[in-house]
């Protein structure tokens, strides 16, 4: 891979994370447990969509083949997506959505804190702008973890179950492959492996306050960096990409 290819891939990873999670949150629109939370989830989803647009536009320019944000969002198949497996997992109940959100918010906050210091001004700018949004996302999801964990018997059971179900998807966040290493050496990217202890401290604190048990590290799955996804991504893309694929020239 040339340096250009690696930058393109790295930007896709960032953009795809935001876009896929944003799409998942959009599925809650009109279905959240109450109106206030319906708005909160779609607000957060739109924040993520905004991040995705900036990353994918940048990725398209780096690639230099004339693909813009829409082309990258709507005309790639599953094997070309680089989002973390965690983020494409189905919403499940509200507890599962919040557990997924909390784990990622806590990670993305640290990742973007690092990216805001990137040697690349444009990437640093996108990260700094997004970090304000993520600070709020993390507050929102952490509040819910505590509220559900330290809430009723049923809410405790559901959020603990969701955490147990998702735990094996988390190690992938902290993987470093050749692209990550090269981008780190460049000063372009972040050492995500080094974020693990900080992430652990923060997450352990919230879980303890929520009276929840941190699961043991047993199973784990990975593969997103090579485009190996769970079956769920295909269904998500089918819904997200249907319109532009069926009517490629459709205008808003």
């Amino acid at each position: 891979m040339t340096d250009k290819d690696m930058r393109f891939d790295y930007l896709l990873r960032l953009g795809d994370n935001s876009l896929i999670l944003g799409q998942r949150l959009a599925e809650w629109c009109g279905h959240a447990p109450m109106l206030e939370e319906d708005l909160a989830l779609t607000n957060i989803g739109l924040d993520l969509l905004g991040q995705a647009r900036m990353f994918l536009s940048y990725a398209g320019e780096v690639e230099g083949k004339g693909r813009d944000e829409d082309r990258l969002a709507y005309f790639r198949d599953t094997k070309d997506w680089r989002n973390l497996l965690l983020l494409e997992q189905p919403n499940g109940d509200f507890a599962k959505t919040m557990a997924r959100q909390f784990f990622f918010d806590a990670f993305q906050y640290l990742q973007f804190e690092g990216l805001a210091k990137s040697s690349d001004d444009r990437l640093a700018g996108i990260a700094a702008k997004s970090l304000k949004e993520i600070t709020y996302h993390r507050r929102h999801s952490a509040d819910w973890i505590i509220r559900l964990g330290d809430g009723t018997d049923e809410s405790h059971e559901r959020i603990q179950g969701a955490i147990d179900d998702l735990w094996g998807y988390l190690p992938e966040m902290f993987d470093m492959d050749a692209v990550d290493d090269a981008m780190l050496a460049d000063g372009f990217g972040v050492d995500v492996a080094a974020l693990r202890p900080v992430w652990d401290d923060y997450v352990n604190g919230v879980l303890a306050e929520a009276t929840l048990i941190r699961p043991a590290d047993s199973w784990s799955v990975r593969g997103s960096r090579e485009g190996k996804h769970s079956e769920h991504l295909g269904y998500l893309l089918a819904e997200m990409q249907f319109l532009p694929r069926a009517y490629p020239d459709a205008k808003w």
């Binding site: 206030e36 939370e37 708005l39 709020y136 929102h140 509040d143």
Partner: protein, 98 residues
């Protein structure tokens, strides 16, 4: 747990200050389980389009309101006391608009 608390969270009233130096104004209400959730909900429901720089939330049950039956004794006695309005002063021209 009774049915009411199970189905509905408590109601909060939301006040937003749109700019520094202005007053907080009542903008509406929302449901939340506690004050912290009321604050974040208010942020999401009422400040999405840059409406505010500060939010107050207060439990609706903590607001003491006058009742419509009190209208006579509360407000009507002031109707015939025009001398309480500052309309009898002659302003010197130099003052201009007040």
């Amino acid at each position: 747990m009774n049915i009411e608390t199970k189905s509905e969270l408590p109601l909060y009233e939301v006040f937003i200050r749109s700019k520094n130096g202005l007053d907080h104004k009542h903008v509406g209400s929302l449901h939340a389980s506690d004050a912290e959730m009321a604050l974040t909900n208010a942020r999401d429901v009422y400040t999405r389009r840059g409406e505010g720089v500060s939010i107050w939330v207060v439990k609706s049950t903590d607001i003491v309101a006058s009742s419509p039956e009190d209208r006579g004794s509360f407000y009507e006695p002031s109707d015939d006391k025009l001398y309480r309005h500052p309309t009898f002063f002659e302003l010197p021209d130099e003052v201009g608009h007040l």
